[in-house]
Symmetry: C2
Subunit: 234 residues, 2 copies
């Protein structure tokens, strides 16, 4: 899971907000969300998730993303929160010409279950990744999609998948002002129930800058190694 941190209400109102949220019960369960769309809607969803976790920690009997017995049920709970937020704000937002749309990617695994990947829509409904569609993108996704389409398959090893999401994000950052550093990166390896990686990649991260340079050079070199363009002779 890789997300940027830029939120904007017009180009003259740009702010930095975390879009990735993680929860972990080491050895039993690990959950990661990424949000896009209307920030007040997705913040409301996260607030409700955390409110329920606090209630449960105080001994209240409440379903939470950390105590239900399947990731599918976690997706349903998040979908319910999404629906509540839409019911609360959509009409007023639309009356003021604002969009209430929001999308959430959910992944995680609980002990005894499979690692799963869901895409939750504004209406609270959701779909799951499959062999045919092994990855999801939300938000400003088009710039970075071609490289993912060219290299990502269900068999892609972790190192390649990580390079792919990093260079995909790099292309997007270069082409669109509404996407920007720093980035948040989380990696969950199957059957570990913890984060192999869960870190922020800061604006001045030299490792990221080096990969970005290498990819930029590699693409330019690949491009300049193409034969002379066709059709010009005719």
């Amino acid at each position: 899971m890789l997300s940027d941190t830029r939120t904007n209400a017009g180009v003259d109102n740009i702010a930095r907000y975390r879009k990735m949220f993680t929860w972990e019960t080491t050895g039993e369960r690990v959950i990661c969300l990424m949000c896009s769309g209307n920030l007040s809607i997705t913040q409301g969803v996260i607030t409700r998730i955390d409110r329920d976790l606090k209630k449960a920690a105080k001994g209240e009997s409440v379903e939470t993303i950390l105590n239900v017995d399947s990731l599918f049920r976690v997706a349903q709970i998040i979908g319910d929160h999404m629906r509540d937020m839409q019911d609360l704000h959509r009409e007023t937002l639309q009356a003021q010409g604002e969009a209430a749309d929001a999308t959430i990617i959910l992944t995680g695994q609980r002990a005894g279950g499979m690692q799963r990947l869901f895409l939750i829509y504004s209406a609270g409904n959701f779909i799951e990744a499959t062999e045919d569609t092994p990855y999801f993108q939300i938000g400003e996704h088009k710039y970075g999609k071609p490289i993912l389409d060219r290299v990502i398959t269900p068999a892609t090893p972790m190192s390649e998948a990580l390079n792919a999401v990093l260079v995909s994000m790099d292309s997007t950052i270069r082409s669109n002002l509404s996407v920007g550093m720093p980035l948040d990166l989380s990696i969950i390896r199957t059957d570990t129930y913890t984060f192999a990686v869960n870190r922020r990649i800061e604006t001045d991260d030299e490792t990221y800058a080096e990969l970005s340079r290498q990819w930029s050079d590699a693409v330019r070199n690949a491009f300049h190694a193409l034969p002379p363009a066709p059709y010009l002779e005719m």
Copy 2:
């Protein structure tokens, strides 16, 4: 100038329409347009251009894109046609939940003038390409923008520019169903007042397929030649 030919009103209503239109008075003037957005609006613009050309051919005194004395004036005429079409249809289209937006790229040169490149908006206003922004894209542009951003400068030679637009279009076609073959390609060299290339690239064009394969292989090879992904060790 490179355009695809796919038009859709939903994924179950896909049709093939030319989006590129060319006019030429050999040795004196050459003009090329590409259209995106609402097809009824852009067809209306093209119809009005051709109507005026027919009137002028019959001896009527009417300004046409082939008789006015600057490309700037050509852009104004096309902007006026755009505004007329918007006045005629926008309100009704919007009442039915349809978009009336349309965008046109105009390029060309007349004897005694400079080669120019304009982007004409729905409202009939327009901007011109500059050293800082040496190319325009319209329509489904995001997928193909990163490669253009990486290689196109005002100094890019024609062969590289042509390869760039071809692989940019190829990435878009792979990632988005609403863009599809065949393609239309036009090339105007400075101070020639004619088309160096003005042709259709058909779906089964072996030259295009070969470039597409070469670029696909080159990008994958460049990607697989990256060092192992960072951050995994931490």
